[in-house]
């Protein structure tokens, strides 16, 4: 509440929107005030159980992801603005073919969730890291970091082969996608959002400005993905998903699609996979390999950060590679 007051107070002080009588800032402020004032009436009107469950899940996904997204854009901004050329050159191998496995393994070092890795890989590309390596990092960081592996071990007690299978399958997806990008990359357009120009401002201002810029770019798409994911959660009963568990191939496909659509954090997906015990271990593995690599929220964020033309190619390809990798590794290890 106090925030709305502060903000609307600011908007009247800003000279940039004065030109029109009612600029968008004022409009947004008015809508916010209106919602605030009619709250009591709205709550009664919208008292409908599925809608309430939807709203809780929607807000929950956004609230859970926000601190990770803020951490991610700060690290991304650090890479974009503050990291010196010398350090960057020392860390990233010159040859792209070699940079891919290095990026894949360094994904282990970032214990964040997938929302953080999109802006980070965007900033790596901006700083001249080969896109193939940055994309490998994008795919490996949320999938094979220590927190994810530990939570997988907890969710599947007494089945260490599941942890190993997840690690191998996810890392292979990241590497295969990186190397594929080396050969096909020239054909896929990638449009990175431009940073605000360096207008001779102090470094700290540029650092924070770039962070806010990245936050706004990725945030809207995160919200869009959260809306879709919450809707799927509320609309599709678990029983419908469970009913195909008997069939091996259909089970794998349904679990992979389910992972794409419900878009849960990679730290939590092992518990959901474990709870769907009627599925084959390979189908459970597919769920855990697809989820952190690509889901509806990530696809939306990628189209915001790398452009729509990129996302419509990269997302389905990642999905296919993840499913194939899960099937092969499942057949080998599980």
């Amino acid at each position: 509440m106090d925030g709305t007051e502060t903000s609307s107070g600011r908007s009247t002080a800003a000279p940039a929107t004065r030109r029109r009588l009612l600029g968008q800032t004022e409009l947004v402020a008015i809508i916010l005030m209106g919602t605030l004032l009619s709250q009591r009436w709205l709550i009664d009107l919208l008292d409908f159980r599925p809608l309430q469950a939807w709203s809780t899940m929607f807000v929950a996904i956004v609230v859970q992801a926000l601190p990770f997204l803020v951490g991610g854009v700060l690290l991304a901004s650090f890479i974009s603005v503050l990291l010196s050329e010398r350090v960057l050159a020392a860390v990233v191998p010159k040859r792209s073919g070699l940079a891919v496995p290095v990026a894949g393994l360094s994904g282990m070092a970032l214990p964040g969730c997938e929302c953080a890795s999109v802006p980070i890989s965007g900033s790596l590309i901006r700083r001249g890291v080969p896109p193939a390596a940055a994309l490998t990092f994008l795919l490996s960081a949320p999938a094979i970091n220590p927190i994810v592996l530990v939570s997988t071990a907890v969710a599947f007690p007494g089945q260490p082969e599941m942890v190993l299978a997840r690690f191998v399958a996810s890392l292979s997806v990241a590497l295969v996608m990186g190397w594929l990008w080396l050969t096909l990359g020239g054909k896929v357009p990638m449009r990175l959002p431009k940073l605000p120009p360096d207008a001779g401002q102090p470094k700290l201002v540029r650092f924070l400005g770039s962070a806010q810029h990245d936050f706004l770019h990725a945030g809207g798409f995160l919200v869009l993905g959260a809306m879709i994911a919450a809707s799927i959660n509320v609309l599709v009963p678990r029983q419908v998903v469970d009913s195909v568990a008997e069939s091996f191939w259909l089970g794998i496909l349904v679990m992979a699609l389910f992972a794409f659509l419900i878009a849960i954090c990679s730290e939590a997906d092992a518990f959901v996979a474990a709870s769907m015990s009627s599925f084959s271990p390979t189908a459970q593995l597919a769920f855990m390999v697809v989820g952190p690599a690509i889901d509806v929220k990530l696809a939306a964020m990628q189209s915001g950060t790398f452009g729509r033309a990129f996302a419509v190619r990269f997302a389905p390809l990642t999905f296919a590679v993840a499913v194939i990798s899960a099937v092969l590794v499942g057949w080998w290890l599980l």
């Binding site: 509440m1 925030g3 709305t4 502060t6 903000s7 609307s8 600011r10 908007s11 800003a14 940039a16 968008q24 800032t25 947004v28 916010l32 919602t35 605030l36 709250q39 709205l42 709550i43 159980r49 309430q52 469950a53 709203s55 809780t56 899940m57 929607f58 807000v59 929950a60 956004v62 609230v63 859970q64 926000l66 601190p67 803020v70 969710a155 959002p193 431009k194 120009p197 207008a199 401002q201 102090p202 201002v205 400005g209 806010q212 936050f215 706004l216 770019h217 809207g220 798409f221 919200v223 869009l224 959260a226 809306m227 009963p237 849960i264 939590a268 997906d269 518990f271 959901v272 915001g304």
Partner: protein, 232 residues
Amino acid sequence: MVVAVNRTTQTLVVTVIGAFVLKICLEGAHVRFVKDWMFWPLLVCGTFLLVVPLLLAWAQRRNQEEHHQHGVPAATWLMLAPVAVAFAISPPALGSYVAERSGGQTPQASGVMAPLLDEDPLPLTLGMFLSYADYDPDRSLADRRVLLEGFVSHREDGWSVSRITMSCCAADAYALTVQVHADGPRPARDTWVQVIGTWVEPDPAQDPLTVVQAVRAERVSEIAEPPQPYEY
């Protein structure tokens, strides 16, 4: 037609999100959405989102106008959606809707079963109750009076006392439910109740995966919703 988000509105959008995150933290409402330990990350994140845009707008007040061409995508407008939804619907803690849909699940067996305490009635979380009911080879729950707390969810043939549990956020939530055999009318959905009763041992011939654990209640009393609505 969707309008690109201008600089001042960008400041407004981020500030409002920061205020929103701080508000749910300080009200303690974050426990409806995420696990308790997220309090500190959210507090830091909210403060940051509230303060940084204002600082930036102040630092860049002179070159506001040159920046007009550097808008952000129209999808940025969506960032206001969670704030609007939270105000308009005021999302409650998940309850009977999820419990009735998911039909209840049994938690993973948690290794060694410690002997139950001597108290009577014995207070147990639903997770503990279900673990002992499903997995304890010594059947130590038999003939014990237990005290369970949770919200009411309905089933076709009666009602259950339920609790929502989650591993990360409310989007991966599922319900722990124990059917209650009690006399009298069934309580309204989402009423919080305390149930004192004894375990109804399932027929050993039944498939352990489909068994519905139940208590025969001797007393059901209404209680207030606890500050931490979920159980982990």
